[in-house]
């Protein structure tokens, strides 16, 4: 039986892992390579790195981080954040990443999904999507870009379907409403997207307790759940989360 995945997300700025704390900006919390190794040893199923480096000139720092992470961990990891061309995708993949996550750049230029999928395969192309409740959008949710700050014309469900059609092999769905609350994932949109696209859906935003993961992986129909604050700040370790999931009959990889 395919296991439900626990994925840890690391935001990286200028080569350091950082974490946004609501209304307080970002605080550095460690070296991404050392943190990746720690989570690998703890049995995390996958990692995601988001490059939130502001300046384009410092992009090479991220490639170096990817290269060093690849030497230390032997599980898949994806890289996202500002990737706008197939050349940038290639650089990240050749540094050792398994997948590319496209978010705002895919909204601005949807062709990039198709180009990436044709060159590297659908399994390499992840659509990252920030969505928030909006009654005026057909599915009840609207897509946002630029870290959730800018509303788009796109309906969340329509965009998910289009991206899959264009070649996205997986969707990471981040709920802006739930993000940072630690009150649990947004189950409604997760279930809606997951039941309506044929590719795996990773839930993101709102995780605070292991029960939240169980909820989104069962009721929310997600294939994987992404966590950040929960593990970064030491509230829970990956094994604690997984043991809880296993006790609640969620299929999970325990033999790490």
């Amino acid at each position: 039986m395919l296991a439900k995945r626990v994925i840890v997300c690391l935001d990286v700025r200028d080569g350091k892992t950082t974490k946004g704390v609501k209304f307080k900006g970002n605080v550095d919390i460690g070296d991404p390579v050392a943190m990746a190794k720690k989570y690998y040893d703890q049995g995390v199923d996958e990692l995601v790195f988001y490059d939130i480096t502001a300046s384009h000139e410092k992009r090479s720092i991220m490639i170096e981080v990817v290269r060093n992470v690849a030497k230390e961990i032997f599980i898949p990891f994806s890289v996202g954040g500002g990737i706008a061309s197939v050349e940038e995708m290639r650089a990240v993949l050749l540094a050792g990443a398994e997948k590319i996550s496209l978010n705002s750049q895919a909204v601005k230029n949807p062709k990039i999904i198709e180009q990436g999928a044709n060159l590297f395969g659908n399994q390499c192309i992840v659509l990252g999507m920030d969505a928030a409740k909006d009654e005026s959008s057909p599915s009840g949710y609207r897509v946002y870009i630029n870290g959730g700050r800018v509303a788009t014309e796109l309906d969340a469900l329509a965009w998910a379907k289009l991206a899959v059609k264009m070649g996205a092999g997986e969707i990471v769905l981040n709920s802006i409403d739930a993000d940072g609350t630690q009150d649990g994932y947004e189950l409604n949109i997760t279930r809606m997207i997951s039941e309506n696209v044929g590719v795996p859906v990773v839930a993101s935003g709102g995780a605070g307790t292991p029960q939240h993961l169980v909820d989104v992986l069962t009721k929310g129909k997600a294939d994987a759940a992404l966590v950040a604050s929960m593990t970064h700040f030491g509230h829970y370790s990956v094994p604690q989360i997984k043991e809880y999931m296993a006790q609640h009959h969620v299929p999970v990889r325990m033999d790490y």
Binding site: Y40, G43, D45, L94, F120, E170, D255
Partner: protein, 206 residues
């Protein structure tokens, strides 16, 4: 020279970086090559790959690498397939109706779209093996390995099925015959058990 080395076949099918980093980690003496003669002369060969069957077969045929893999298999030295490499050693793939190398009898089919099955299968799934093959030595039955694929191999000869995995249907997740071992999963991305399996292959003398 290639004769003491592990050769990793580079046929422009996806990213070989993770295979390279895993082999580096294990201390293997290897080269990544698209030269058919370097392949024929290698001590062992790893045939990886991610991508589309038809396009990959065309590259293999045009470059002479396909024949070199068949020749290498006939030399009796250890050959390992991974993911698309494994699918291509079968006789046929449903992916754009592609004739493959035919080292293992059987077919590669697409996962059924029905029943809400997500395609591709992405993630960790249990590999049910009987522990009988040296490449699985020391790896517990039902260990989890990492899979990414939309098509699955099904071997005709049951004795050549070394492991089975269930995803909508039950498929041959590892096959072996003579000096060949091939897995649908990615050992290079499968954590400790994946590294153990690669280490076993590097020490395997069929």
């Amino acid at each position: 020279m290639a004769k003491d080395k592990v050769a990793v076949v580079d046929y422009k099918a996806g990213n070989l970086k993770s295979v390279e980093t895993a082999l580096d980690y294990l201390g293997a003496d290897f080269l990544v090559t698209h030269d058919p003669d370097a392949l024929r002369g290698a001590a062992r060969v790893i045939f990886p790959g991610v991508g589309e069957a038809r396009a990959s077969m065309e590259v293999l045929q045009a470059s002479g690498l396909g024949q070199a893999i068949v020749d290498f298999f006939q030399s009796g030295r250890p050959l390992m397939g991974i993911c698309l490499g494994t699918q291509i050693i079968f006789e046929h793939s449903e992916e754009r109706d592609t004739a493959c190398l035919g080292l293992v009898k059987g077919k590669v089919r697409r996962f059924p779209e029905s029943g809400g099955l997500k395609i591709p299968q992405i993630g960790w799934n249990q590999v049910v093996h009987s522990d009988s093959h040296p490449v699985f030595k020391g790896i517990p039955e039902n260990s989890n390995f990492y899979f990414v694929h939309s098509y699955y191999p099904q071997a005709d000869i049951q004795e050549q099925v070394m492991a089975r995995t269930e995803y909508g249907i039950t498929f041959s997740s590892a096959v072996a015959r003579d000096n060949l071992f091939a897995s649908q999963f990615h050992p290079e991305k499968s954590g400790r058990w994946g590294l153990k399996l690669l280490e076993n292959f590097l020490g395997w003398n069929p």
